[in-house]
């Protein structure tokens, strides 16, 4: 519908919308994050959900203790190689539509422990991440911003067509392979389906 016509109608007290706008408005206003934290970043996540920063203002007040009831995974903290399979398993157990926010330097890249022997270099090696937040730790405002970014992303998702989200596409996977504990490292060390090793190209 034409934007101008819609404005004109709303001035007359007639509200119009599209089904997908309504659908996405409902989804983005009621996001249930999974309640778990992995390291120091989790403290900031907790702060963001409490009275002072109040994540509830954005419609995400209920942190669910079960992945079956959650649709947002906030990976808040260091993902060790020993923990990574459990994080992927929890993600697999969440019903679609589901989203992931990787919070903090550790979750997005390994952070201060990047060259360590036991820390995963970012959870996006195994599951698709929607929003990355840098920082060590990111302040609660940064988490709020990431959450608003996610809401914008949900808002813009079409219900049909090529750009439709994964949960409306029967061919897209909703589960991702859980890495196994190997003798020296996780097997496989990354899931090529979701993660591509960066290629450096230099000009001149």
């Amino acid at each position: 519908m034409d934007e101008g016509l819609r404005n004109e109608l709303s001035k007359q007290g007639v509200f119009t919308t599209t089904l997908s706008d309504l659908y996405n408005w409902g989804r983005r206003s009621s996001v249930w994050p999974l309640q778990f934290g992995l390291a120091c970043c989790a403290i900031e996540m907790i702060a963001a959900s409490m009275a002072r920063y109040d994540l509830a203002r954005f419609g995400a007040e209920v942190f669910r203790p079960s992945p079956r009831q959650a649709d947002l995974m906030i990976v808040a903290g260091t993902v060790t190689k020993k923990m990574a399979p459990q994080v992927v398993r929890l993600y697999n157990q969440m019903p679609e539509p589901k989203y992931v926010i990787a919070m903090g330097a550790c979750a997005i890249s390994g952070g201060p422990f990047k060259q360590g022997y036991n820390v995963l270099k970012g959870i996006d090696r195994y599951i698709p991440v929607d929003v990355h937040i840098p920082g060590c730790p990111p302040r609660p405002e940064a988490l709020l911003h990431a959450f608003m970014t996610l809401q914008r992303k949900i808002d813009e998702q079409a219900m049909s067509g090529k750009a439709r989200p994964r949960h409306l596409n029967p061919d897209a996977p909703s589960e991702f392979p859980v890495p196994q504990f190997g003798e020296h490292d996780l097997v496989p060390p990354k899931n090529e389906m979701v993660w591509e090793t960066p290629v450096v190209t230099r000009n001149g």
């Binding site: 190689k81 060259q115 504990f181 020296h184 060390p189 090793t197 290629v199 450096v200």
Partner: protein
């Protein structure tokens, strides 16, 4: 302040066959320690805990150290074919693994007493007695030493890996640990990381 030399003598007098060496420490920490052999480790630990004057009833910390094989090069004058020459003599000292225990006495309010034990070498005979039966607080810390350094503790009630997963083969805190080759692009590599960057992205 406890007098290490007198404790050393008292241990040798009370524990039959025990030989204790005082290891001085010239660094700013200036914390000398007692080196005991593994064979008498348990008896000495019991003596330190139960002796009426010492009563070291609390082990606050147990950790491991890896000492690599060392080569000592000395220049000696030798007569070769009737001519006196300076010849380099290389003596090899086998490396060893070491455990360090920090002991305190809650009752007598003194400490720390630093107790060291060394394995014969770094490979086949990396075995030492477990002191968990003397100080319960050693249990997890000895498991950690076993996990990260590979020292096998004889008499430990539950010697399993604690930080890394069970199928893991390496001991990551050993100095010759080779980490999995999982370097990925980094914007500002330096030192060792720069070496890896050159290997993985030649010409960049």
């Amino acid at each position: 302040m406890i007098d290490l030399e007198s404790i050393r003598l008292r241990i040798e007098a009370s524990v039959a066959g025990a030989q204790v060496t005082l290891v001085p420490n010239d660094s700013p920490a200036a914390q000398p320690s007692l080196l005991v052999e593994g064979a008498h480790g348990l008896a000495i630990a019991l003596f330190l805990r139960d002796d009426a004057e010492l009563r070291f009833d609390y082990c606050s910390n147990a950790t491991g150290v890896d000492w690599l094989d060392t080569e000592l090069k000395v220049k000696v004058k030798q007569v070769v074919d009737g001519v006196e020459k300076e010849v380099e003599q290389v003596t090899k000292k086998p490396g060893y693994l070491e455990t360090v225990y920090h002991l305190y006495s809650m009752e007598k309010r003194h400490g720390p007493l630093i107790l060291r034990m060394r394995t014969r070498n770094r490979a086949g005979e990396a075995k030492l007695p477990s002191l968990t039966s003397v100080w319960r607080s050693c249990e997890f810390q000895e498991r950690e030493i076993y996990d990260l350094y590979g020292i096998e503790f004889i008499g430990h009630p539950d010697l399993r890996r604690i930080l890394m997963w069970d199928g893991f083969k390496d001991h990551p805190m050993r100095k010759d640990y080779v980490e999995p080759d999982d370097y990925e692009y980094e914007p500002t590599p330096h030192d060792e990381v720069l070496e890896k960057a050159k290997e993985h992205y030649p010409g960049s």
